[in-house]
């Protein structure tokens, strides 16, 4: 059982994701996580502001239960299935991140510079986190899906729109990291 405490290799991880998609199809649903963000908006009353949010959110209750499961899964994995949370990224990447100011690279699961509870007293960091989330939420709905809906479900169904979306994901990600990170960090 020691393997389960180690980071899972890519082939086990990829197969597990395909299994999640298969199981959702077999219970009559589709794999797509970002639509939950729209459901949250509707539950908060956003239907008053835009027709886009006027739908019966109870139809999406199943996906909210998947979200609760994902939270519980994160808790189980982090607390009971992980011996050492440090992510062993490429040493070249570690050195690069160190020069950008990320001292925690190679030593933690998430950069402490962005995700330790100390950031709650750092308005600039909070602003970056909120901005990152905002772009994810806006972009996912604009593109009609995120990594699960397009990169996994959409590509699995050989849908051209999903390939375009994934090309967009990578173009945006590379612009952020190659051009904007040196300006931000």
């Amino acid at each position: 059982m020691d393997w389960i405490m180690q980071p899972w290799p890519w082939y086990v991880s990829g197969a597990a994701i395909a299994l999640v998609m298969l199981l959702l199809l077999l219970v009559g649903r589709n794999f797509g996580m970002s639509s939950n963000l729209r459901t949250f908006c509707t539950m908060c009353g956003a239907g008053k502001t835009s027709e886009f949010f006027r739908f019966d959110w109870k139809e999406q209750q199943w996906n909210l239960i998947v979200v609760v499961g994902a939270i519980i899964g994160g808790f189980i994995a982090a607390h009971y299935l992980t011996a050492d949370p440090a992510v062993a990224i490429n040493p070249v990447t570690v050195a690069e991140l160190n020069t950008l100011g990320f001292e925690s690279a190679g030593k933690a699961y998430l950069p402490t510079e962005l995700f330790s509870s100390g950031v709650f007293s750092e308005p600039a960091t909070l602003g970056l986190l909120a901005l990152g989330g905002f772009l994810v939420g806006f972009g996912a709905r604009y593109a009609g899906g995120c990594t699960s809906g397009h990169a996994i479900s959409g590509l699995s169904n050989l849908q051209w729109p999903s390939l375009l979306a994934v090309i967009g994901f990578f173009a945006g990600g590379m612009v952020m990291i190659y051009f904007l990170f040196p300006l931000i960090f």
Binding site: G14, G69, A70, G73, I89, T93, Y109, R141, Q159
Partner: protein, 137 residues
């Protein structure tokens, strides 16, 4: 029963996101820098198996556990919305280091600042709903 099946699938998903390190900001950075095969291996394996699964479901007309036909809703044909929307998503994915699935996983793992990212994502979704009609689709 159905609710329990959704919950269990969600738990499997959450554990997978954390243990695969796909929920790690560092792995996303490394992916966009092309410094490791890890994330490409994960997505590639999932897609190759996914294509086989979807083709098998279509060919053998597999039904759901509840006897209904399994349907795939095709995405509407368009170019700008996928490229522009995808580009904006990519900017955020790289900055926050998490896409919508892993965001929830990280709440359970105890990284509370991710709640700010989620709040931002809900706001971003809401903003899209407000300006949707004015955007090229």
């Amino acid at each position: 029963m159905r609710s329990l099946s959704y919950l269990l699938i969600g738990i499997l998903f959450g554990i997978t996101m954390f243990k695969s390190e796909a929920a790690s900001w560092f792995r996303i950075y490394e992916m966009f820098k092309f410094d490791a095969f890890h994330m490409y291996g994960i997505i590639g394996t999932a897609v190759v198996l996914g294509v086989i699964i979807v083709q098998a479901i279509k060919r053998f007309k597999v039904k759901s556990f509840y006897g209904d036909p399994i349907q795939f809703e095709p995405k509407e044909k368009s170019v700008p919305r996928y490229l522009i929307g995808g580009f904006i998503f990519g900017l955020g994915w790289a900055l926050a280091g998490a896409c919508p699935g892993p965001m929830f996983t990280l709440v359970g793992a105890g990284y509370l600042p991710i709640l700010i990212v989620i709040a931002g994502a809900v706001l971003g979704t809401w903003a899209y709903g407000l300006v949707k009609e004015k955007l090229p689709h």
